[in-house]
C-alpha cells in the first residue's frame, strides 16, 4: 500500500479537454471516491493512475516514486473495469488466479488456490468457480472482475463503477464488504462512481469532478456540510438540495444570487407562505413538494404528517448556503 499523488494532470482526446490540471493527494490507506456525472473525467483520472493512458502534462507518483513512462504492470496497481473485461475462454477460477500467475510473483499453487477460494467466498461466487466466464450473469461477471483485483495486494486498487450493474441488495452487501476489506487491510482505494450513497458510505475522501476539473476534495461530511459551489452541493443529498433565487427570503448577504436549501435547512411552520403540491409517503419519511412564488422545492417531514396537497405551509431557511452569480459559495 502506498500514498498516491496526482500532480496537475491534463489530458485531451481529439482536441476535447478531458482533464484540466487535476491534482489529488490520496493518502496511504484512504478510500477516495471520485464523484461526477458522465464525461466529468472520473475514468480518465483512473486510467492516468493505472498507466493505461499517459497524461499530456503532469505526473503521477505512487509511494513517492514518479510513475512517468511506467507500464501498468510496473506500477503494481489492480483495476476493476466497468465493462467487466473477463478472459472469456477461462473459468472463473482461472480468471481469479490469472493475476497471481504473473512470473513476477512466483506464488505457490496451494497459495493461489487458497487466495482464490477466499476471495470467491467474500464475493459469494464460490459455487460458480468452475463455470466459464461467459456463462455468468452480468452481476456475477462484475463480482469476478472485482475478485480479480482483490486477490492481489497492489499499491492501490482502482475501481471504475464496480457496483453499477448489480441489483440493489447485492450492491448494498458488497458496499459493506468492500469497505471492510479496505479498512481491515488498510488498502488504498481510488473509486469512481456516480452513486452518492456509495460515496457517502465508503469514502474517507470525496473528489468532485466537473468537466475535467477537480472542484472540491473533502471528507463526505465536509463536502455535504460545506460545499464550495452549487455544483458540489448538488452532488450529495437525497432529496437534492433546492436552489432558489436568494431574494425569496430576507437576510441574503451582499452579492448572493442563489440560496441553497437542503431539507434540514428548511424550518417548517414559520416564515414565508408556500403551497403543498404533492405528498410522497416513503415509509421512514415523507417528502413534501412545495410551491413557493412559482418555484418548486422538495423537503422532508415526519412520516405521520397530516399535510395533503393544497395545504398552505410556512417555511423559513435555517443556516442556508448562499451562492454568487458564478455558482461559487458566499460565506
Amino acid at each position: 500500500m502506498a500514498e498516491v499523488i496526482v500532480d496537475n494532470i491534463s489530458k485531451s482526446f481529439d482536441g476535447h479537454k478531458a482533464l484540466d490540471g487535476v491534482s489529488l493527494n490520496i493518502p496511504d490507506g484512504s478510500f477516495v471516491v471520485l464523484l461526477g456525472p458522465t464525461g466529468a473525467g472520473k475514468t480518465t483520472v483512473l486510467r492516468m493512475v493505472s498507466g493505461l493512458d499517459k497524461p499530456d502534462r503532469g505526473d503521477v507518483s505512487i509511494g513517492g516514486y514518479s510513475m512517468q513512462g511506467l507500464t501498468p504492470a510496473q506500477r503494481n496497481i489492480a483495476m476493476v473495469f466497468q465493462q467487466y473485461s473477463l478472459y472469456p475462454h477461462l473459468t472463473v477460477r482461472e480468471n481469479l488466479a490469472f493475476p497471481l500467475k504473473s512470473p513476477m510473483l512466483k506464488t505457490k499453487a496451494a497459495d493461489i488456490k487458497r487466495m482464490v477460494n477466499d476471495v470467491a467466498e467474500v464475493l459469494q461466487i464460490s459455487h460458480k468457480l468452475d463455470n466459464k466466464a461467459t456463462a455468468l450473469s452480468g452481476g456475477e461477471m462484475q463480482r469476478v472482475s472485482i475478485g480479480r483485483a482483490l486477490v492481489r495486494r497492489p499499491s492501490i486498487y482502482l475501481m471504475d463503477e464496480p457496483l453499477s450493474s448489480l441489483d440493489a441488495k447485492l450492491r448494498a452487501d458488497l458496499r459493506i464488504e468492500l469497505k471492510s476489506i479496505q479498512s481491515n487491510s488498510n488498502a488504498t482505494f481510488l473509486y469512481v462512481t456516480h452513486d452518492q450513497i456509495e460515496a457517502m458510505t465508503m469514502a474517507t475522501h470525496v473528489g468532485v469532478l466537473d468537466q475535467g476539473k477537480l472542484v472540491q476534495f473533502d471528507s463526505p461530511k465536509d463536502l455535504y456540510e460545506n460545499p464550495v459551489s452549487v455544483y458540489a452541493a448538488s452532488r450529495l443529498g437525497q432529496p437534492r438540495i433546492n436552489i432558489l433565487p436568494a431574494d425569496l427570503f430576507a437576510g441574503a448577504p451582499q452579492g448572493a444570487d442563489k440560496i441553497g436549501l437542503r431539507p434540514e435547512q428548511i424550518i417548517q411552520g414559520q416564515g414565508v407562505a408556500s403551497t403543498v403540491t404533492r405528498v410522497e409517503h416513503l415509509g421512514d419519511q415523507t417528502r413534501l413538494h412545495l410551491s413557493l412564488a412559482s418555484h418548486d422545492l422538495v423537503t422532508v417531514t415526519d412520516p405521520y404528517t397530516r399535510l395533503k396537497a393544497g395545504d398552505a405551509l410556512k417555511i423559513t431557511p435555517h443556516q442556508p448556503f448562499y451562492f454568487g452569480i458564478d455558482g461559487s459559495r458566499i460565506q
Binding site: T71, L86, H89, L90, F98, S102, P103
Partner: protein, 315 residues
C-alpha cells in the same frame, strides 16, 4: 348494428387467410412453399449423387450409350484403390493441401496481426494485400507462367537476386522437384489475403479492455498473446482452415492453367485426374467410383473437423 369505429374497421378487414383457402392445413401450406426448393435439390443434387453411386458399380461409358451396361460390383473400387497412379495424385493433393494451409494460415495470421496494429494507412495496405484474391484463377495461372519463365520471369530473377543462382538454371513449372512447390506458392499468393481477412475479423472482435485488464494483471505481451489472442482467435483460424481445405481439395482451374498437371503427373491433383478419367477417357463407371471415394473422404474429414470446431467455439 352499431356504427362504432371499431365495428367499421372490423368489417373492412378481409377474412383470415386460413378461412379463404379452406381445406389447406398450415402444414400443407408450409409444404407448398418448401416443395420447389426440395424438387430442385432432388433433381440436381440428390438424384445425381444416387445415380453416381449406381454407376460406380457398372462399366458404363457415356460415349457409348448403346453398349450393354454390366454390373461389375466392387471392381471399379478395387482398381482405383490398387492403382499406384491414383495414389500418386492423392499424394500430390495431400502435399498441395497441407502446405497451402500451413503457409496461408501462418502468413495470413502474421499479416493480420501486423495490419491490426494502429498505424497510418493500414486501410490502404489491407486493400492492396487483398488484391490477388479478386483476380480470376485463370488469369492468375496465366500470368504466373510468365513470372516462372526461366529467361524473362520476374520470380526467377528475384530468386537469383537473393541467392545468386543463375535464373535460367531452373524452371519452377518444368521440373519434377519444383512444380509441386510452384503451385503451392501461387495458391498461397492468391489466397493468403482471404485467411488474413478472417484473422483480422477475429482480432478485431477481441475488445481492447481485455488486453488492458491483462496489462493491469501484469501479464507480459508474450503471455497476453498465448492466453488471450490465440485462444480467442482459434475458432477463426479453424474456420479459415476449413474453407481453404475444402476449396483446395477441389482445386482445378489454377493448376490446370499453370502446369496442366505436369511435368509428368507431379501436379496432377485428384480433381484433375478425375476430370481426365471422366471426360477424356470417358470411363464413366470407373470415374463415378473415383468421385464417390473423394466425396466420402472430404465429407468424412469435414464432419470430424466441424465437430472439433464446435468444441473449440464452446470453450
Amino acid at each position: 348494428m352499431s356504427n362504432s369505429t371499431i365495428d367499421r374497421a372490423a368489417q373492412a378487414t378481409p377474412p383470415a387467410m386460413a378461412q379463404r383457402v379452406k381445406g389447406f392445413s398450415d402444414r400443407t401450406i408450409a409444404w407448398i412453399f418448401v416443395a420447389p426448393t426440395i424438387l430442385i435439390l432432388l433433381a440436381i443434387n440428390i438424384f445425381p449423387l444416387i445415380w453416381t453411386i449406381y454407376l460406380s458399380f457398372t462399366n458404363f461409358r457415356v460415349n457409348r450409350p448403346n453398349n450393354e451396361v454390366e454390373w461389375v460390383g466392387l471392381k471399379n473400387y478395387q482398381r482405383i484403390l490398387g492403382d499406384s497412379d491414383v495414389w500418386m495424385t492423392m499424394q500430390a493433393t495431400a502435399h498441395f493441401l497441407i502446405w497451402t494451409i500451413v503457409l496461408q494460415v501462418l502468413i495470413g495470421f502474421v499479416l493480420a496481426y501486423l495490419i491490426n496494429k494502429k498505424f497510418r494507412g493500414n486501410d490502404l495496405w489491407t486493400t492492396i494485400i487483398v488484391f490477388p484474391m479478386m483476380l480470376s484463377p485463370a488469369v492468375v495461372g496465366n500470368f504466373w507462367t510468365f513470372l516462372y519463365q526461366p529467361q524473362i520471369g520476374l520470380f526467377n530473377y528475384v530468386v537469383s537476386f537473393f541467392t545468386g543462382v543463375d535464373p535460367a538454371s531452373f524452371s519452377m513449372i518444368g521440373e519434377v522437384d519444383l512444380a509441386p512447390w510452384a503451385i503451392v506458392i501461387v495458391d498461397t499468393w492468391m489466397w493468403t489475403p482471404f485467411v488474413m481477412l478472417i484473422c483480422l475479423a477475429g482480432l478485431r472482435s477481441i475488445p481492447d479492455s481485455i488486453y488492458e485488464a491483462a496489462e493491469c494483471d501484469r501479464a507480459t505481451k508474450w503471455r497476453q498473446f498465448w492466453t488471450i489472442t490465440i485462444p480467442m482467435i482459434l475458432p477463426f483460424l479453424m474456420l479459415a482452415v476449413l474453407f481453404r481445405g475444402i476449396e483446395n481439395f477441389k482445386m482445378f482451374d489454377l493448376v490446370v492453367q499453370l502446369t496442366g498437371g505436369g511435368p509428368g503427373n507431379t501436379t496432377t491433383l485428384t480433381s484433375i485426374d478425375l476430370k481426365r478419367e471422366a471426360f477424356e477417357k470417358w470411363r464413366t463407371g470407373y470415374s463415378s467410383a473415383y468421385a464417390v471415394i473423394l466425396f466420402v473422404t472430404v465429407f468424412g474429414l469435414a464432419s470430424i473437423y466441424v465437430k472439433a470446431l464446435n468444441r473449440v467455439k464452446q470453450r
